[in-house]
């Protein structure tokens, strides 16, 4: 039930959400009957007292007016769609409730924590909220963080590969102190600037666990006789497997697992509809003292990916963004008026919608030499007519240029975007000649030094039509300078394996993920330290495996990036971190490691017109905004029925 202080809260809830089959007559009467029973209860002082019992002593008070939003009214359900059952796990991204999280201006703020102290990025002291409870009413205390660190992360059976990487600095774990039930401290010898941004990331690492619940399944706390039957019943092998299975903080597969999120899951797969109900002990309130979230229930319906836009068009979703893309805009717009929703178009923050990754660690020696030649990469970049791409792919609304951070980032400089990113086929041709690719065959295609055609096989996962369409256009542009392009779409897994093994010459994919960074976010996506960057899989593998596999980076300009990344990791000084970011971005633009094209696709965000507090225009990205997470879905609410309003 909702926190209610005024009687009008209990007056007819907006009957579910608009657009759904109107409730049958019998159901309406049942609701009315139910409400008339509940009404006195809700209005009674006893109930309000109970409400404050459910809140921590110091709840997080959200000042909606200061954010330019309206104070809402609790109640109602919303329906959103997912294309497969597993995707319900993104609720923790949408709902975005973290120990420490970003606000709309991308500053880190305590959220579940009452406050945090950060001493030189080495000593982090967390203060919990007194009286904060899990969704099952049990107290949330420092023990829950200790349990995660000592009994889950450091337990060899539960975490065979040790604690998560962001907890380790130079391979060393932090010292952990449980000061009292409300205070914990993590101490590293060297700075760990990644710690807080990681806690605020779109995928919550959940460094706290409901100890009171999970201890029942932990060999250290429960006796063998207690666990054994549970293990048998769940048909798993051993207590660790059972614990891991029930400990589904992210996956949302265990309705019994207590949570601190605004909504908790109530059913498991397979199901056509997943129902999330409000957490009665949620820690945020608005300035009127109403407990958040405003929405009582979030329903996630599973529908085939291809039907999402059609279902939105038929008004069957109250809120939908993930799974929609630019091509869907016309069909979404078409149903707006009849079905009472709006299609908000949010610019996405991504380095580039279509980026080409010349593989610097490709096995073929001839291609390797070419890909490593800056003049060659620059020529390919200059030979792309980005204006045409922009018009064809993004209705001319995009931004043309390199794969780099977007304008909204405080680290942005125009030259990152524009350096060698114009359209100059003459210069491109001259550069290719200079590289030594002067021989041509009868069709005008240049020849490689060993006599093969200069035919670049660009491999892609073929899942996005924007990529394949874009590549078709680029093949036209490149033919003008004597370069042939062949698109090879394939399964993502195969693509990945081919790139990692050095078989792929060039890969086309989306550009930078973290394209709206602040200096305190890790710049590791820019450095060759991860295998999954298609430009240098083997260098990344070398760093990731600490030299056991892959190849050491042997290009000085790229090595600089590794050093810069290491320097960023070792410093607690924000100004120095900003300098490092700037150097890395400049290096990226100058060296054209990745050839960017156009950025700024629009993300359709469909929301019912009556669903209020949904921003009209915001930046959409996975990292750092957690899709819509930082815009606080728990503040969305159902406005008055338009019919009632007109009366």
């Amino acid at each position: 039930m909702t926190a209610s202080t005024s009687p009008e809260t209990a007056s007819p809830l907006p009957p579910r959400s608009a657009g759904h089959p109107p409730p049958q007559r019998g159901e309406v009467w049942r609701r009315v009957a139910l409400l008339s029973v509940l009404f006195p209860l809700l209005a009674s002082p006893a109930f309000s007292a109970e409400t404050s019992d459910r809140l921590p002593k110091q709840p997080l008070v959200v000042d909606l007016a200061a954010q330019g939003r309206q104070t809402g009214k609790p109640g109602g359900d919303i329906v959103t769609l997912v294309s497969k059952a597993r995707d319900i796990r993104y609720i923790s991204t949408y709902a975005y409730t973290r120990l420490v999280g970003y606000d709309e201006k991308l500053a880190l703020q305590p959220d579940i924590l009452e406050k945090f102290e950060n001493d030189g990025d080495k000593v982090y002291t967390f203060t919990l909220r007194e009286g904060h409870r899990w969704s099952d009413g049990q107290p949330f205390t420092a023990e829950d963080i200790r349990y995660w660190w000592e009994d889950v992360a450091l337990n060899k059976e539960l975490s065979p590969s040790g604690p998560p990487e962001f907890m380790m600095v130079d391979g060393q774990p932090p010292r952990f102190e449980l000061i009292d039930p409300l205070h914990v401290r993590f101490t590293w010898d060297k700075p760990n600037p990644r710690f807080l941004p990681e806690l605020a990331s779109p995928r919550d690492p959940f460094i706290y666990r409901p100890a009171h619940y999970l201890k029942k399944f932990h060999a250290k706390y429960a006796s063998k006789a207690e666990i054994e039957p549970l293990v048998k019943q769940a048909k798993v092998k051993g207590w660790a497997a059972l614990h891991n299975r029930l400990d589904a903080m992210f996956e949302q597969t265990n309705p019994d697992l207590p949570t601190l999120q605004p909504w908790r899951v109530t059913n498991t797969a397979p199901a056509a509809r997943f129902v999330f109900v409000r957490n009665p002990y949620y820690h945020r309130v608005d300035t009127n003292g109403q407990q958040l979230p405003y929405i009582d229930k979030v329903n996630m319906d599973v529908a085939a990916g291809g039907l999402l836009a059609a279902k939105a068009n038929a008004g069957e979703a109250d809120l939908l963004f993930r799974g929609l893309n630019m091509e869907d805009i016309p069909i979404l717009r078409e149903g707006e008026r009849a079905k009472g929703y709006r299609t908000h178009l949010w610019p996405t923050a991504r380095g580039s919608e279509l980026a080409l990754y010349p593989n610097l660690t490709v096995t073929d020696p001839v291609w390797r030499q070419l890909n490593r030649d800056l003049r060659y990469r620059r020529a390919l970049s200059l030979a792309i007519d980005r204006r045409t791409l922009n018009n064809a792919l993004l209705f001319g609304l995009g931004t043309e240029g390199n794969d780099t951070v977007v304008e909204k980032s405080p680290l942005y400089k125009p030259e990152y975007r524009t350096l060698n990113a114009g359209y100059d086929p003459g210069e491109a041709s001259r550069l290719l000649d200079e590289v030594g690719l002067t021989q041509r065959n009868g069709a005008g295609i240049r020849l490689l030094p060993d006599g093969r055609e200069l035919e670049i096989v660009v491999e892609t996962d073929g899942e996005s039509s924007m990529l394949t369409d874009g590549l078709t256009l680029i093949s036209e542009f490149w033919r003008e300078v004597g370069v042939k392009l062949f698109v090879k779409p394939q399964d993502r897994t195969v693509l990945r394996n081919r790139a990692y093994s050095g078989a792929a010459v060039m890969v086309a994919a989306q550009g930078l993920d973290l394209a709206m960074p602040t200096a305190e976010m890790s710049p590791d996506e820019l450095a060759p330290v991860h295998q999954d960057t298609y430009a240098w899989p083997k260098w990344g593998q070398y760093v990731e495996t600490r030299g056991k596999e892959g190849e050491a980076c042997d290009i000085p300009e790229a090595k600089v990036l590794i050093d810069l990344n290491a320097r960023w990791m070792a410093t607690a000084d924000n100004a120095e971190q900003a300098t490092i970011w700037a150097e890395m971005l400049k290096n990226r633009a100058e060296n054209q490691w990745v050839i960017g094209t156009v950025s700024g696709a629009l993300q359709p965000v469909v929301a019912k017109t009556r669903l209020l507090n949904v921003p009209d225009k915001q930046t959409y990205s996975w990292k750092p905004t957690a899709l819509i997470g930082v815009y606080r879905m728990d503040q969305f609410y159902w406005g008055p029925n338009p019919k009632e309003a007109s009366r």
Binding site: P270, E316, T493
Partner: protein, 341 residues
Amino acid sequence: MIRYLARRLLTMAVTLLIISALVFVIIKLPPGDFLTNQIAELRSQGEAASVAKAQFLMQQYGLDRPVWEQYLRWIGLWPNPEGAFNGLIQGNWGWSFEYDRPVREVVGDALWLTLVVNLAVVIFVHLVSIPIAIYSATRQYSIGDYVATFIGYIGLATPSFLLALVMLFYANRWFEVSIGGLYDSAYSGLPWTWDKIRSLLAHLVVPTLVIGLGGTAAMIRRMRANLLDELGKQYVVTARAKGLPPTRALLKYPFRMSLNPFIADIGNLLPHLISGSVLVSLVLSLPTVGPILLAALKSQDQFLAGFILMFVAMLTVIGMLISDLLLAWLDPRIRLGGDGR
């Protein structure tokens, strides 16, 4: 007869064993498996913590073992890490990685909804096509015959997924039937009330029409041809000459004979009940096993995909047996082979 049955059952078991090996090999053909793919994906998202969990699962379900051992374990001819034989033969359907629960729970609901959809289709096909076929056979080359033939060809030629989308759109516009699914999602997870059944029936119309249309056309053509064959035969002419009423003269013998090929088809009908509607189920997002199978194959959720394929194979084998027995019983001209008598 008993000896014949015993022999048939034995060959069925051998056939299923061979099929199971083929199924497993084919599922394993693409590089990697569910968990290695999972690990790669998690790694690319920087989710190092879950990578460990996936690696742990991998050991647990023996995905790090050679393929032949995984196969034997799956069908239950090889002991699992605890030394117990526990596979398909022992009635354990395996584990689904994608859903993180036993296969039995994953396919449970979907199996019977699949049956509902496909039974509706079978009934629809027969109800529509038999009368039309009889009409067009008895009035060959009449205008009605041409019209029925023409409509039948259109039904055969229209891509079912396209038709499905168009019909979905108009069902939503005109009758407010929600898009996709087998009942309105508001009823999901609720017990079966009259309202929910009504919603199911409303949602059944589009899939039944779409899946059934192609089948209807085919059945009209075959039935018409069979009937025409029979109608020209001596015994029909004799029966008519002796003054048997026309309806009786049609239904008593020629019609029965023309049904013969369809009974022989029962063997195919059973597996068709499960796998016949995959494409349309996908497009219409019906909660049947079709989409589950496709998703399982794509994500290499090997035990789930393997089970569904084996289930379909088993239905085929059983269906074949049933149709053989039925035919022998129905049509005295057919006898069990050689020494099986």
